[in-house]
Symmetry: C2
Subunit: 129 residues, 2 copies
DNA sequence: CACTTTGCTCTATTACTTATAGAACAATTG
DNA sequence: CAATTGTTCTATAAGTAATAGAGCAAAGTG
């Protein structure tokens, strides 16, 4: 897994890390049961603080994408990640809404935004930056 | 314009206000040249601070959706809002990416997400919450 | 068993964001 | 002229983000 953090981004680096791990799962680079680096090793590897990696892990644990086993290690959800619940779909829509509204105000058509969605899904699946 | 602020939301209220004004523009409730309430009047109306409304206004001004004329008032971009630039499209995609990645990890298909996009566009245009 | 590794917890500091508050300024507007 | 306007300034409080270092207790390993 190649992780790249933009230190000047407005997106917190713990979130950047979490997002890239999510993409790794989508791409199948990280499979159910796979172990993730220890918070210390990962932090040293990425040149960031242990607590920041820990925060990313807990963010992913809350979403049930990974399992944190105290005094043992961190693993991609061993039983596989379950499908989206109604609530999760609703939350996704809530987060997408202001972005689409901004697109519409900039005169983007629904078709153009669907095209953007398609390109993004391709990029994510292929690991394109 | 009916504005509704969720005080317990993790989304800052100045952003919630800005988002809802953007939707108002999309719906045509706010037309080019229309004047927006003064920061003081709007703040009193919404039960929030003058500075918070001011922050929302400046957020929208930076995106060139409104024009702030010092000592005069605030207006929806009089000449109409220009279409999305390449950079704006790129920024939108950057912001959408982690949401789509999360959808994919939750086993949502591209078709399902296109459907969500469609429903959202409808909701925005119809002013559905 | 002894040692290392592990995630967890605690205290601390720094910088930034969010939100509120009040006051004053200067130009526009009626 | 008087009220309204966005701007600017200082101030405070709470929260987040990121770093730092130390210690703990249990799991894992040789």
């Amino acid at each position: 897994m190649f992780i790249e953090i933009k230190t000047n981004s407005s997106v917190p680096i713990y979130l950047q890390l979490a997002h890239q791990l999510i993409e790794g799962i989508v791409r199948g680079e990280l499979k159910p049961g796979d172990s993730l680096p220890s918070v210390r090793a990962f932090a040293a590897d990425l040149g960031m603080n242990m607590h920041t990696v820990n925060k990313a892990y807990h963010y992913l644990e809350e979403k049930e994408f990974i399992q944190i086993v105290a005094k043992s290690g961190v693993f991609i959800q061993p039983n596989g990640i379950p499908g989206a619940t109604v609530i999760e779909k609703q939350q996704l829509k809530e987060q997408m809404r202001p972005l689409l509204a901004e697109g519409l105000v900039l005169k983007l058509s629904e078709e153009e935004m669907v095209k953007m969605l398609h390109e993004l899904v391709q990029d994510i699946k292929e690991g394109k930056p």
